[in-house]
Amino acid sequence: MAAKGLLRAEEVYHDPTRRVRELRAKGKKVIGYPCVYVPLELLAALDIVPYRICGEMREPVTEADRVLPASFCPIMRSCLDCSLKGRHDFLDGTITVHASDPQEKTARIWQSYTRLPYFHFIDMPGTTRTEALEYFASQLDGMVTTLETFSGKKLSADRLNKAIEAYNQQRLLVQSLFELTKPSPPLVSGTEIVKVIKAVMSLPVDEGNQLLNEVLEEVKARKEKPQAKRARLLLWGSTTDDAAVMSILESNANVVFAEDCAGYRPYRGKVIVATDEVMALAIHYLLEITCARTFVQSTATPTKKDYQQDLQGRYGYLKSIISDWKIDGVILLLVRYCDPFAFEVPAVKDYFASLGIPATYIEYDYTEGSLAPMRTRVEAFLETIG
């Protein structure tokens, strides 16, 4: 009766709130989050359904203009705009993180202009030092406290471990999905992956895992595979959750790896519990997610820094992606005003250049009108790499 696999992903991608609305009608609590730094395990363990709030590129921003300036992260602006327009009326609350200033500022304004029953803001340190990690863990403890009050439930170690297991399973499944883009032609297209991941982020963890299993099975077995195109590209950026953007990038190329927050990035590694579950989550989220917002540096000695070594320390993980996925070129794709990532552009370009991989920076303003020029840039880039 119900659609399965890619068809189901397509369905959820186009109507992402439907399932959580149904669940809410059945009495479940639903909490929205705009950023992958929120440890979803803590929500799931308290029987709360997390829902990733995404921007809507096709929706002209009208309401957010009252409260935010125009030169501001267009994704957060769009998220807030949709909220102010009542698009998130199915949510019981939101959780935001100090992952970047635009999110921090938006969080506070969000709380000021919308009246959801639950709201929590997680402060995040800028570095990965031990004391920073412990502070981050204490912030997560704070979130547990407010979530327990809100849900009227007590967090049990047993349920938390089960939730960690379920999300680790999800990470593994997404990693397996990206394994299928290693062959040429890839078994699954970048555009399909965007839809699948957005669907997964809009569903409870077990349903997301089921969907991923179905998709894996389906794409391995299907006869009609994506075609091999001019080049195999790596996408590096903040968040690309819109299939129209991905299909522009894929018009003459295969995007076989998406190093961004609606691609591989949130699903890298796994949470390893040694003793304390919350500390394990803090370690995983602060250290494993490769968002530009976290300050990391590699120095030769405590007082001497070498640029090449620093690049290696910051971007070294990209090297094996380049070779394992046989990448021909890199698209650095950012929305305008994404400061943390924009500061990285010359350095990450230097790193790719040191590997002999051409890279091009494309900035867009998160409107449909920016798609046609984006296509010209991608094609011109493909023409330069032959």
Binding site: E368, L371, E383, T384
Partner: protein, 291 residues
Amino acid sequence: MAEASPLHHLYFAGIDIGSTMTKAVIIDAAGAVIAAIKGPTGAEHRHLANEVMAKALESAGLKLEEIFRIVATGYGRFNVPFADEHITELSCHARGVYHVFPGARTVVDIGGQDAKCLKVREGRLVDFAMNDKCAAGTGRFLELTAQSLGVGLEGLAALSQKATKPVEISNMCTIFAQQEVVMRLSQGERIEDIIAGLHRALAERVAALARRLGVEPEVVLTGGVAKNAGMVQAMRAALGCDLLVPPEPLLTGALGAALLAKEHTERLLAQGKPLEVKARRLEKATFYTGG
């Protein structure tokens, strides 16, 4: 040469659908231009790529079947149903400019809707930088501000030559610059000096884009504004180097497209592939902007 080539009886066309003008060039197997036509794109004309092509054919005295391969370029390139291939205007400009100036290494193209700088090696595009985010820094900036002055685009060059002290235009946002122009007029600034100021403001903006790539001689300026001597002068000053301007700066894209069509065919031939002419009709372009 042409006689010796197995392609000698073949012709190639390039059609460049820009935001304001549609251009078509037909070349023969030796690469000589035998027709070059420009027509407006505009809202009401944008479907009429076929008419521009028909005019080019008429001018060349050729039939459509005699064109072996057609490459479409420009922002409307996806929408030319009778084209065999579409290639970005960046690569086509690079190729077209190389044909005119074989020593070209940097191309600055200021179009109606965007400005781009190309790094070129032997006619091949190797890197580029583009501004397409707002009208500031494009030909549209001049068009709109000229409007506020009641001057046509054609009048700009002559007037700017009479400038004695170009005024400082502080606002690069087109809308604000228009207001500023009106304000400057009311302050009694001479129209010539305002125009020279506008040229300088635009040139500096585009020069910053070019420096992102590194400006290496020879530098070639193309696009509609290259026909404006005042703008060429301002661009020379902003880049601090000499500039070459092709005799037909609007046509280098279409020319490059035609040359790329020819080279593609030569490659097929070299690979021993059969040359088949595609059956096609001159249909109207179907436009959509979503890509």
